[in-house]
Symmetry: C2
Subunit: 216 residues, 2 copies
């Protein structure tokens, strides 16, 4: 299985490419914004594609050609300027969905935020609300495509080392999760087609990741 | 016909409420963000409703109850902070559509920007692109509702006095248009059900506004 990792140079993305490359039956193609980011991924033996999410659909589709799955883990993040929030977290995501379709790729895994329901936009503080809104509309759009999607809603991301154990369900209590564990959750999601057309929240917990994801 | 004007305190909105109040067969309800904005509209004999577009759908629906049409002419505008762009121009618009539906209002007139196609997002400069993206997704959402919508795409807005004459079609050459004429175009659109499920660009021109809108 060849996986295009969109946002490979992010913290989750780097763990993800590394874990994919460790698998016998998977290969990563790292989509990055700048050529100088390529060496990290080349050292892992991964292919790279230099594409900006502000480029057009055709350019993104070119990178998606020949892969079996797309993982969208790009994100301006809640701390970037809100001008990038709509252009990356919403429009970049929608263009990537269109690009997957254009390239004939069906499997699409979206890394969303913990709660992207309408109520969460209203509840968010003013600096976080634009980010939640962007993720809300991106998730909504993905559900309406005919892609084989999974939407992962991780809790508060930390840089702690992975534990290999999580709690995952449609709704779980708010909590933290190491980025390294999110990357493992993505790999498990790609390996379990039972997650197609589903979405789930995931935080740190006591269930081995493979079991937690299988039970979704 | 009673018309809820969302964004009444904007420059187009003020002209629009005034023109609606001048008609024998129309009445305006001005949706405004602050109580201190009410007197302008009360002096025109219009009803007012104090609602923030960052409020929830139920609150907006309360304002829409009993009206026959909703006009969305609110806008953070291209010069507001981009955090408001996604929350007002996209999410505020979508919440207003949902509110219209909840209140049983079918007719919905959207004041969009001149070109909101995907290519226009790519072509826009970096300060304008978030605004174009927000309008792109709002328009796209409106087309997918079962509201009796019309999307008006005006050219570059000016504060010149209205001329009463425009050019309107699915595509026209880029040009300017006084905000006062946009307000007249909205009134003509509300009066012509032939504009339902259509959208058109409009700039200054030589055709009387009623004729131009009727020919859409």
């Amino acid at each position: 299985m060849k996986v295009l990792v969109v946002g490979a140079n992010g913290q989750i993305g780097k763990h993800l490419v590394s874990f994919i490359q460790d698998r016998d039956n998977m290969k990563a193609k790292a989509m990055i914004r700048k050529q100088e980011q390529a060496s990290f991924f080349e050292n892992l033996g991964a292919e790279t594609a230099v594409v900006d999410l502000e480029d057009d659909i055709e350019t993104i589709a070119e990178a998606a050609k020949g892969v079996d799955a797309v993982v969208f883990t790009a994100g301006s993040g809640p701390n970037t300027g809100p001008d990038k929030t709509i252009l990356i977290d919403l429009d970049g995501a929608v263009k990537t969905m269109e690009a997957a379709k254009a390239a004939g790729v069906k499997r699409f895994v979206m890394i969303s935020s913990f709660d992207t329901r309408r109520e969460a936009i209203l509840a968010a503080n003013s600096s976080f609300a634009p980010y939640v809104a962007a993720k809300h509309y991106a998730d909504e759009r993905l559900r309406s495509t005919d892609l084989d999607y999974t939407i992962i809603h991780p809790g508060k991301l930390t840089n702690d080392g992975g534990t290999g154990q999580v709690e995952a369900a449609i709704e779980v209590e708010r909590g933290e999760i190491p980025r390294e564990d999110v990357a493992s959750v993505i790999v498990a999601t790609l390996e379990n087609d039972s997650t197609i057309s589903k979405e789930y929240q995931v935080v740190g917990g006591t269930t081995p990741i493979q079991d937690a994801v299988k039970s979704i």
